[in-house]
Amino acid sequence: MQTQDAITPGYAMRPKLNYLNNGTTLKSWLLTKDHKRIAIMYLITVSLFFMMGGLYAATIRLELLTPASDLLETGTYNKVFTQHGILMIFFFLIPSIPAVLGNFLIPIMIGAKDLALPRINLLSLYIYWLAGGMALWALMQGGVDTGWTFYTPYSTTFSNSYVMAVGLAIFINGFSSILTGLNFIVTIHTMRAPGMTWFRLPLFVWAHYAVSLVMVLGTPVIAITTLLLAIERISHVGIFDPSIGGDPILFQHLFWFYSHPAVYIMILPGMGVISELISSFSRKKIFGYEFVAFSSIAIAVFGFLVWGHHLFVSGQSMYAGMVFSFLTMVVAVPSAIKMFNWAATLYKGSISFDTPMLYGIGFMGLFLIGGLTGLFLGAIGLTVHLTDTYFVVAHFHYVMVGGQVIAYLGGIHYWWPKMTGKMYSEFWGKISAMLVFVGFNLTFFPQFLLGYQGMPRRYAAYPEEFQVLNIFSTAGASVLGIGLVMPVIYLGHSLIFGKDAGDNPWLLPGLEWRTTSPPPTENFAVMPVVTWEAYEYGEESGLDVEAAKRRLAVEAAT
């Protein structure tokens, strides 16, 4: 079978052309239909947006070092956190894992040459660029100050900032996300290699299937909402503006009808990555595969029913509030199932602590806290006190940064050898993972305490008794910042000086590890036929463990 030589790492005859050097002109990149190249272009853009968002975050933390609004004026501060939120959510976190890792890996993982609709894939990248460019233009013109939630009537009538331009940018960006999701759905349905049944799919693919459902069904709603918002701003028709008959709460319903499911767009791919990491680095089949797979779908579906938990104190009816609180509790259960299955997977494994696994374990701890504090916020009587305080800020950073960003970093490290063919420095990788973990907790844990004390969010100036905890938070952010800058350096370094990674550095059974690193343009020299179960480490997987061990011995000797 073809697997044998594909697995023998390093020693296999490497084809001269891989996706990276198959065409070197700018045009060959910009007009490519290769999902891997598109993923790389996403990677670069998304990272730039992350850095910008991070710079805004640093500015926020510096301003909050002291109680008075002394570093920034309140107006500037308002723009800073708004733009931080918008860039991070719409232009970084939502595309992060799906558009980079999903794009790169899904076709390889299911044994296809490409996504089903490669031109649509390229189109989605261009739409993203267009939207991103437009957002940046708007920020340069003067920015927005509405908060990332754009609540009306402030955004429609009172704000003097570039709400319309940014709204339209988000509208356009939505289509990028829709097309990506659509492409994944089609690909996963039709492009699976022979033998790759639904229940042999890696959980990463399952998670992306669930995410794609949300992207395709949720995103159009935010698109139409921002469109209405933008039109309302020019035409002053009262859809949302109460002074002429509109309904500001309708906006909140429409906004959260998308944006709550969107938070699952922001975590499900991360969960997919974690399933891979946990299983790979304990060299065990994931515990309760079907449950983990279906819980992704359950999260995606139930996620559409709970948007009202963002409106507990907005004046919606008391009974609506209770129903949404109830459903919020229900949607937490599938996440719980995942947590338990991950932990159980470690049992009797053979666990190694390479950098990606550090991120994987970090994720479990941080998402646990983030998710549990989500329950605090879902308990309606408690949220009345907590909503719009720093407790919420801490909750969503725990799930978004502690969850998705950590998973994203873990994934980048994990598949880096596959994407580039090079190995980064394990030493610096570990240091940076630890710094991120420590810095992150130091930044955001104090914010739970601040929130319970009552410090409202989006405050440029705050009463003095909150200062001590804010100092902790700012200090933590500095550590976190350092931890996050390091990968940029050592990963960049590895591109040129890194040692050859080999095709399968960790000897893993997934299809992506059975092609060369970096993979050729059409992914496999010979198209695979799958005869083994997902996460199969035993004989059936066809992995040549003995050869790999011998290789290790040779390496150790030299």
């Binding site: 089903a116 022979p194 395709v216 039109i231 859809i239 010979v526």
Partner: protein, 295 residues
């Protein structure tokens, strides 16, 4: 999918088969699933607007009825008919594509395009009418009518708004800045007399217990705003549809399709039917609901 193992560059590729697929079956399945997912997306897209429509319709039924009454059900009905027929011609196009009958295909595509254009033409007539009557809900996008010194119209103005009967506002009016115009609030009076104002309306149309023409106008404006956004987006979809048809016409003319390969025709047909169906919902919601109040 069984050709996997033998697949490489030297395998014979059917026309229209793209490089990432193994065979036509796979490609067609992909395109079809993609199209359905796209349509699901479209449903959610229009769904947001329908939600907004329902919210405001239930808050301000009288304002919406007043707005509805002003739309011309004849044009709307004609357009409905035109679209239904175009759906038929589209379905026949697919049928003849499957049969591999090029000439019928070309004829039917042209017919479909013809009906599509009629639809858009009627829409243009309707929009122009709104423009002339000053009921485009955006200031500045209406016909500008400079103040006229002839004083006949002053009388119309002095009547209480609920006695301005329907149609009267079609006379010359003054609108120097192209603002949204709405004078008739007879329906409010009607509803007040028969006691079926909603609680939102009781606040929304009145100031100090009197019917407030301005406040009522704002609510009617919401109706027209939704009317323009919904029909506008629908018309945009029609235009995209016509673009698709043009391409289809070209490729059909070139004998691109055969009994073995007619996927693009089928998919374009799916899209065309979807756009028709949206109109089937728009027409009663915008043109018909609340008509009985007028008579």
């Amino acid at each position: 999918m069984s050709t996997h193992e033998t697949s490489d560059k030297f395998v014979y590729h059917e026309p229209g088969l793209q490089h990432q697929f193994e065979d036509m079956g796979q490609q067609e399945e992909s395109v079809s699933i993609g199209m359905w997912a796209f349509l699901a997306q479209e449903i959610m897209f229009f769904g947001g607007l329908f939600t907004a429509y329902l919210v405001f319709r239930s808050k301000y039924p009288m304002a919406f009825a007043a707005g509805s009454n002003h739309l011309n059900a004849f044009w709307g009905g004609l357009n409905t008919l035109v679209l239904i027929v175009s759906s038929l011609t589209m379905a026949l196009t697919v049928y003849y594509a499957q049969k591999g009958n090029r000439n019928m295909q070309v004829i039917l595509i042209m017919l479909t395009m013809f009906f599509g254009s009629v639809f858009l033409g009627v829409k243009a007539i309707e929009y122009t009418d709104k423009y002339n009557h000053g009921i485009v809900p955006v200031t500045g996008l209406n016909k500008v009518v400079k103040a006229d010194t002839k004083s006949e119209h002053a009388e119309v103005k002095e009547k209480p708004c609920y006695e301005v009967s329907h149609g009267e506002e079609e006379e010359e009016y003054v609108n120097p800045r192209g603002e949204f115009q709405w004078k008739d609030c007879s329906l409010v009076k009607l509803a007040q007399d028969h006691n079926y104002l909603t609680s939102a309306e009781k606040i929304g149309y009145f100031s100090n217990g009197e019917i407030d023409a301005d406040k009522f106008r704002d609510k009617v404006r919401i109706f027209f705003f939704l009317y323009f956004v919904m029909t506008g987006l629908h018309a945009l979809h029609m235009i995209v549809g016509l673009g698709l048809m043009t391409w289809l016409l070209w490729t059909a003319w070139k004998k691109y399709y055969s009994a073995d390969y007619y996927m693009p025709v089928e998919m374009s047909g799916l899209y065309w039917h979807f756009v028709d169906i949206v109109w089937i919902f728009l027409f009663p919601l915008l043109y018909l609901l609340g008509r009985h109040f007028m008579h």
